[in-house]
Subunit: 340 residues, 2 copies
Amino acid sequence: MPTIFDVARRAGVSKTTVSRVLNHPELVNEETKRRVRGIMEELSYTPSILAQGMRAQRTKSFGVVIPDFKNLYYAEFLEHVEIAARHHGYIAIICSTDIDPDREREYITKLIMRQVDGLIMCWYKSVTANRDFLVKLAKKLPVVIMDQPSQGLPVSSVYTDGFKGIGRLTKYFIENGHRKIAIIRSLKKYPVGNSRYEGYAAALQKQGLDIDEALVVESEWTAEGAFEATGRLLAGAEPTAIIAVTDLMALGVLKYLKDNGYDVPGEIAIAGFDDISVSSLVSPRITTVAQPVDRMAWEAAQQLIRRIENRHVRNRDIELENRLIIRESTKQPVEDEVTG
Amino acid sequence: MPTIFDVARRAGVSKTTVSRVLNHPELVNEETKRRVRGIMEELSYTPSILAQGMRAQRTKSFGVVIPDFKNLYYAEFLEHVEIAARHHGYIAIICSTDIDPDREREYITKLIMRQVDGLIMCWYKSVTANRDFLVKLAKKLPVVIMDQPSQGLPVSSVYTDGFKGIGRLTKYFIENGHRKIAIIRSLKKYPVGNSRYEGYAAALQKQGLDIDEALVVESEWTAEGAFEATGRLLAGAEPTAIIAVTDLMALGVLKYLKDNGYDVPGEIAIAGFDDISVSSLVSPRITTVAQPVDRMAWEAAQQLIRRIENRHVRNRDIELENRLIIRESTKQPVEDEVTG
DNA sequence: ATTAATTATGGTATCGGTTTCATGAAAATG
DNA sequence: CATTTTCATGAAACCGATACCATAATTAAT
């Protein structure tokens, strides 16, 4: 790899001049500039970010930590985070932890060693239960937490209100005559899933319905987990509607119902959360609470970069609106209907 | 962020000794070592990879360029590439180009600026049509191309034989009585899709069937593209089976057929390629030619890292076997059946 | 014509590590 | 006891860039 010194020698100038051609071209003689640029082209010289970063103490990169590539919600998130990063001249370094806490710590350490300028974390775990860790981390570099509010910690956050979203969905079911509405919730240690569950519980109570424990089952954050959970649910109850706390899980529910000959939505209606693209690629298309993942990604990157580039920018909790999208999995096919 | 100098001062030693504690601990006095390690812990010191990389001329990282996060084939690939990278102490820097050639070049340049030690590229474009570019690139760092052979270029490659895979699938259809087998192929500029198409064409001819142009339609590499292409296909032909050159596209085909009241596989059977996880999450589950994406990712990373760490390792073309998995989209539900 | 301002360029320190070489002290050898 | 090893450590060079300061050559101003 050619260095700035190689270019300088070939052009018969000092490396200072070469550097100036790139960073302060107005200070360099036209003729020299042309010559140096020619040599750069010829050697296909690109300055080393390592050296630049060392000098400038920033790398124009930030880390993105997600639990799982295969969850399309994160895939879509990454797509947009990357666009935002690129737009600001940054590069996103993406790590998937596979929901393994050890890997998570390891990756965070690695990202810090690489001197990323900031960190976006899709964190399913409790923010408060990891208070010390996050406080320590946030001292080192700006942090944005996705999908849950910062709860007073020194980080920014971007999320939608899962409580409200599932609440609206539950209300929709009730208004359409459902009385036995089941929910496939996530394990209780995951606050993101918990607030969605609580939205369900609160909506039921508001409409004067009791929570039937037989209609509540826990599941892993996967389609397979939800598939299996649906089996458990139907062994002990006869719901007319099933809410899954993510679309990926709703896919698992749908699979179970179809495999076992249930008519959806005729016998059992289903709904999810996130609005991942496959939700409208399956039949019936799945009713869901859509998160504006493109805007969420954009806001997260924007807020992070602002904080990186100006230390006076303060942490913010950025709440975006989710919205209920009614599709065929909860009624007979007509046009999509957007509520809220 | 504490530096090696901070640790050295606090421990009352030189930075050389601190460095030695990390890299050649056997050369350091036990007592000193303990003291230095204590300070490191206390300051939560992590050496800067920037500085290390600058000295060592390697960053223990490699770039991965994919066209699209949302294609689950790549998502699954990334999952496994990352595991392999981690296993070898490397970090994968992932970039998605969104099938935009400008972004692709830009990212490759950026990765080189970041001094990645190697590059894995999921390249849908023609290798030979980009010969000059790839030759130039391969001079700078080891490169592994996915999904197509290297065609004599100075890069390694990892792929399965799409020609053979789709050939087997086509033969299966013919043996099961299908005579009007349609194919949703990709645009002709993409060689990965082309060889799959050719496998279809060759299999038909081998079984004495002619290629009916009305049964061949082109589509973008997306579910939406295939959805639309299926509409075009069915406007001018009445196939009893449809092959899509990827599972993602097969999902689009399935959607179109279901939306338009076709019985799958009763009226029209469908099949795809890749075996992404959602293929068995939809109903009917989709028959496909499975690529061993986990092993492909592992081999790619392994070969790349070998070449990075030992300049005498030569480029290799690594062909892995794909296999036909028969599911309900081509026959009535029973157990999965694996052929070839 | 002399001084001041402008223009173009180079020398050198710096960022945070690793490595080579040098050095002094302690231990082992003859 | 003198000499050679071994052990423990530090000083300095280097990796590739940027930025500050210095300087020489013009050009402009008085």
